[in-house]
Symmetry: C2
Subunit: 172 residues, 2 copies
């Protein structure tokens, strides 16, 4: 199996480590199973604490921790509500940041459907409501080519500001 | 923020839970930060035990556990090698199953680049080697439309074999 082509200052893999990698940073926020499944339920329309507890099948303590972390990180926002005769409580709404994590969860679903599901294609169909066609998550370049692992190249971002930090050893 | 449209038997969210969800199954395999970062290093071309330890910055014990789990799950294969004058050891090669997880990791990177990186766009550029254009992970339907959260619908898969298991309560 091929690998990603390491380009420029990254080409000698022994001289750098991915210390500030955006994958690692993302996993600091959503790197637990319960965080990911809490986001799944937010995508399915859950807002209230009890819904997350019930549908993710986690304890109230874990749900409270995950919802607090996801809110602090900016993926969910806390919105007050009040049922008649009850005290004010809070529910959780997706932010744009939270909604934009969708491709990662759909990519996991697509992969799980292909390799781990009990039935071919998985238990759920995801479609585009507008036209009814099935939805996939694709890796594609700006010119429209679908790209696999062997077709990918990675290099230090040209937006780095100082020449020093663009050296291989500082590459992230 | 909109949510996914739950269709057919799934439309009453109170009657079902995502108990055999392919996202959950995927996370049983790669639901830890160290598993995901081990896969990242495999994509960057790592094969040997010492490389995974050094580049993921995990202990030898954690690396051994992760590599054993990822091999058992089918994402990596163990291949014997022998350096001159040394005993036979094993290195780890991506399988097709492992390579096909790529969109999930790239989607996490793209999201981290956008929301969590210290510099705009993140530390690394990912491009299509063939044409040099930047690469993105997109959610797209078979008709070619880019689809966001509010444009997604989900229903019980039509490939389910028995009518009973297609009922909302059995939906996964």
């Amino acid at each position: 199996m091929e690998s990603i082509t390491l380009q420029g200052g990254l080409s000698d893999r022994d001289t750098w480590r991915a210390t500030s990698c955006s994958i690692a940073k993302a996993l600091e926020v959503v790197g637990t199973r319960s965080a990911m499944l809490t986001m799944r339920e937010a995508y399915y329309g859950a807002h209230r604490f009890e819904e997350f507890v019930r549908r993710v099948e986690i304890t109230e303590a874990v749900a409270a921790t995950r919802l607090r972390e996801l809110t602090a990180a900016g993926l969910l926002s806390r919105v007050p509500y009040q049922d008649p005769g009850q005290r004010t409580r809070h529910e959780y709404h997706l932010t744009q940041m939270g909604a934009d994590l969708l491709p990662a969860l759909l990519a996991l679903m697509q992969w799980g459907d292909r390799y781990l599901a009990e039935q071919p294609g998985g238990p759920l169909n995801v479609t585009h409501v507008g036209c009814g066609e099935p939805v996939t998550v694709d890796v594609r370049c700006a010119a429209g080519h679908e790209v696999d692992l062997g077709g990918l190249g990675v290099q230090v971002s040209r937006t780095r500001k100082t020449p020093a930090s663009a050296s291989p050893r500082a590459a992230r």
